[in-house]
């Protein structure tokens, strides 16, 4: 029986871009599967296009005209002879209509069933479903209420609370609200952002649990009904509800709590007959009570930290179970070993309110060495555009202990060179030196409320000054050799640039 299901597909369309598209291609190639890339006009030269077996243009740069257009993706699948579709994360990954369109076109969707996506994507239905399975949830409202109804409901729930997008993920369309007065503005902002990001402006409210940690459990299910969990990820370090640093395991989760949370996560997954990789997110309060937040029905950005501590290649398992194979692991074969930390490298300026930074990458040098993994779509000449997410790379470090992972991360951050856009690498460096981080004393509000870049001490100003002065001096020396001083009608710099052009 198992054999009949093998080789259900040999050609995979990857409906995504950036580092995750490259990550999925690697897993495909490892299993001998051919890869089909899709790209917008902005991504013609991207790594995921160059590393693919075939690549097809799907439209203009805005995602709403390319990566989010279901018909175009299905067309490419048909044209290219793809037999399966991997959605990655973001874009269409959690859209039941996309999964359904794949099934209708006779394609294998590498993820859960449209029904499971819809059940978990509808946050209210998700809450009802898991509550019925005996899982505690955070108090809140139904989605789909009008602003007036939400404002009335807010008073019952109490402040502070969160406005969340029903179709949401990654913090988009989410707003914290601390008093009744600012609720209507937050609703408008969240609806606007959710419409832009997901094409759906539906929002709901949720009580904010204070001193909470965001801890999630990775689950894997196969079509034979086996569901296992791969332990937890600590994702409390967030800015504007976007995770910035994740680690596995968590500082606060012991074996007993892990077993409990794992069981609950599996129960939540089973409640919707879950197949493939998924993540059950929880808030954990100071007394280690945990509340179901939501289930993400896709591979997560931060999946590598789990891969490093369990040894399981999650994307490869996704492909295997989508082909109808059994999971390669039983629950008691999953053992956590060591510690892994991931820093999300974003194109943004950590010294100016994390404003996104765009531009062309002029130089890049990746950190290497034992225990270091870099997942990225970056290359020299790559242009970071305003069309897509500002995350340009993930830097993941492994150590036997948390301390060793942190030391490796410090060294890797120092070694990572990205020139052409500003990055949040200094933020990560500052965090890796923070006492609160080192002692594991943080919650979901730590980054925004108790962590400041202005406290960062920088030590290399003098050295930077020397470098720039030496380069400036060298240039002016060369320029003055070309035209004697006094004879030039313009600055040395201009002369030097002209001279450089002549040399080419």
């Amino acid at each position: 029986m198992d054999n009949l299901l093998i080789q259900k597909f040999d050609k995979v369309l990857i409906a995504n871009r950036g580092e995750i598209a490259v990550r999925i291609q690697r897993a495909c190639h490892k299993l001998g599967l051919q890869t089909i890339a899709v790209y917008s006009d902005a991504d013609r030269n991207a790594l995921h296009v160059r590393y693919a077996d075939e690549a097809y243009n799907i439209g203009p740069p805005p995602a709403t005209e390319s990566y989010l257009v279901i018909d175009r993706l299905i067309d490419v699948a048909k044209k290219s002879g793809a037999e399966a579709v991997h959605p990655g994360y973001g874009f269409l990954a959690e859209r039941a209509d996309f999964a359904q369109a794949c099934y209708d076109a006779g394609l294998v969707f590498i993820g859960p069933s449209p029904k499971a996506i819809a059940a978990m994507g509808d946050k209210q239905l998700a809450r009802q479903t898991v509550r019925a399975a005996g899982v505690s949830v955070v108090p809140g409202t139904d989605p789909g209420l009008s602003d007036d109804e939400l404002i009335a409901a807010a008073e019952k729930i109490g402040f502070p609370l969160l406005v969340k997008a029903a179709a949401g993920g990654g913090g988009k369309g989410m707003r914290p609200v601390h008093e009744a007065g600012s609720l209507s503005n937050a609703l408008a902002g969240a609806r606007r952002e959710a419409t832009a990001a997901f094409g759906d402006g539906t929002v709901y409210l949720e009580k904010m649990i204070s001193d909470a940690r965001h801890i999630e459990i990775q689950v894997l299910g196969d079509s034979q009904g086996n569901v296992i969990h791969l332990g937890e990820r600590e994702c409390s370090l967030q800015r504007r509800h976007q995770k910035v640093i994740e680690e596995a395991p968590s500082f606060v989760v012991d074996d007993e709590l892990r077993r409990q949370m794992g069981e609950v996560a599996i129960a939540a997954a089973r409640a919707v007959d879950y197949v493939n990789a998924g993540t059950v997110e929880f808030l954990v309060d100071r007394d280690k009570n945990f509340y179901f937040l939501e289930m993400n029905t896709r591979v997560q950005v931060e999946h590598p930290v789990t891969e490093l501590v369990t040894g399981v290649d999650i994307v490869q398992e996704q492909l295997r179970v989508a082909r109808g194979r059994r999971l390669r692991y039983l629950q008691d074969q999953v053992k956590l070993k060591g510690w892994a930390i991931e820093c999300r490298i974003n194109a943004e300026d950590p010294y100016h309110d994390f404003v996104p930074s765009t531009g062309t990458i002029t130089a890049i040098g990746l950190p290497t060495g034992p225990g270091i993994r870099v997942d990225t779509g970056l290359y020299e000449g790559h242009t970071v555009t305003p069309y897509y997410d500002s995350m340009i790379s993930k830097l993941i470090c492994y150590g036997e202990t948390r301390g060793e992972a942190v030391l490796r991360m410090r060294r890797a951050l120092e070694e990572y060179r990205i020139m052409g856009v500003k990055t949040n690498i200094p933020f990560h460096q500052h965090m890796m030196e923070s006492h609160r981080f080192l002692s594991g004393q943080f919650d979901t509000r730590f980054v925004e409320e108790r962590f400041s870049m202005s406290e960062r001490e920088i030590h290399d100003e003098l050295e930077a000054a020397i470098f720039a002065t030496l380069v400036a001096h060298q240039r002016s020396q060369r320029a003055s050799q070309i035209v004697a001083p006094g004879e030039r009608d313009t600055s040395n710099w201009k002369w030097y640039t002209r001279w450089e052009r002549l040399q080419r």
């Binding site: 997410d389 060179r417 200094p426 020397i466 002065t469």
Partner: protein, 174 residues
């Protein structure tokens, strides 16, 4: 050659007269400075301490990437420095500060009007880019002298959005 080099408000006087030695604020250091291939990657041995950096020229400064930090460095030779000083005394303080768009995007809202008194750190414009709303804040106290954009406008990188002047200066003009 004598240079006055500024990083994060700190000035260094750096003299370079020969290949293997420089003087920083009067102190001598041995240097060995190598450029690696075409890229901006540089290797420097300063008193045998080994450092690597990438240095690139931008419109208004040199960018130096060193140990993960990106420094904006202004290098001026003595003559240029003196000229700038002389000019600076005349205009510097009263010059309007312009808030520019850090990236292309869509103006979702302009929260201030011309003539409004604003404080440093106050949000003045909400710009949508990279699928997120970004709050652009005033870098100083002052009075809004010009509003160049309105709700719904598309803006390019570095486009002028808002100009901020000194409260006293505005009064004088009136």
């Amino acid at each position: 050659m004598k240079y006055i080099t500024t990083v994060n408000g700190q000035e260094y006087i750096i003299e370079i007269d020969q290949k293997t030695e420089i003087t920083v604020n009067g102190e001598r250091h041995g240097v060995d400075f190598q450029q690696l291939a075409e890229s901006g990657t540089l290797s420097l041995l300063i008193d045998n301490r080994s450092l690597e950096a990438i240095v690139e020229e931008r419109e208004d400064a040199w960018e130096v990437l060193l140990h993960g930090e990106l420094y904006a460095v202004h290098v001026q030779d003595e003559r240029a420095y003196r000229l700038a000083q002389a000019r600076g005394k005349l205009s510097d303080a009263s010059e309007a500060v312009v808030i520019r768009s850090p990236m292309p995007g869509l103006i979702l809202d302009v929260l201030v009007e011309e003539g409004a008194h604003i404080g440093q750190g106050q949000t003045v414009v909400i710009l949508e880019s990279m699928k997120m709303e970004n709050e652009l804040r005033a870098g100083r106290d002052g009075v809004v002298t010009r509003v160049h954009v309105g709700k719904g406008d598309s803006v390019e990188k570095n486009q002028e959005l808002i100009a901020i002047g000194d409260a006293e200066e505005i009064k004088e003009q009136q």
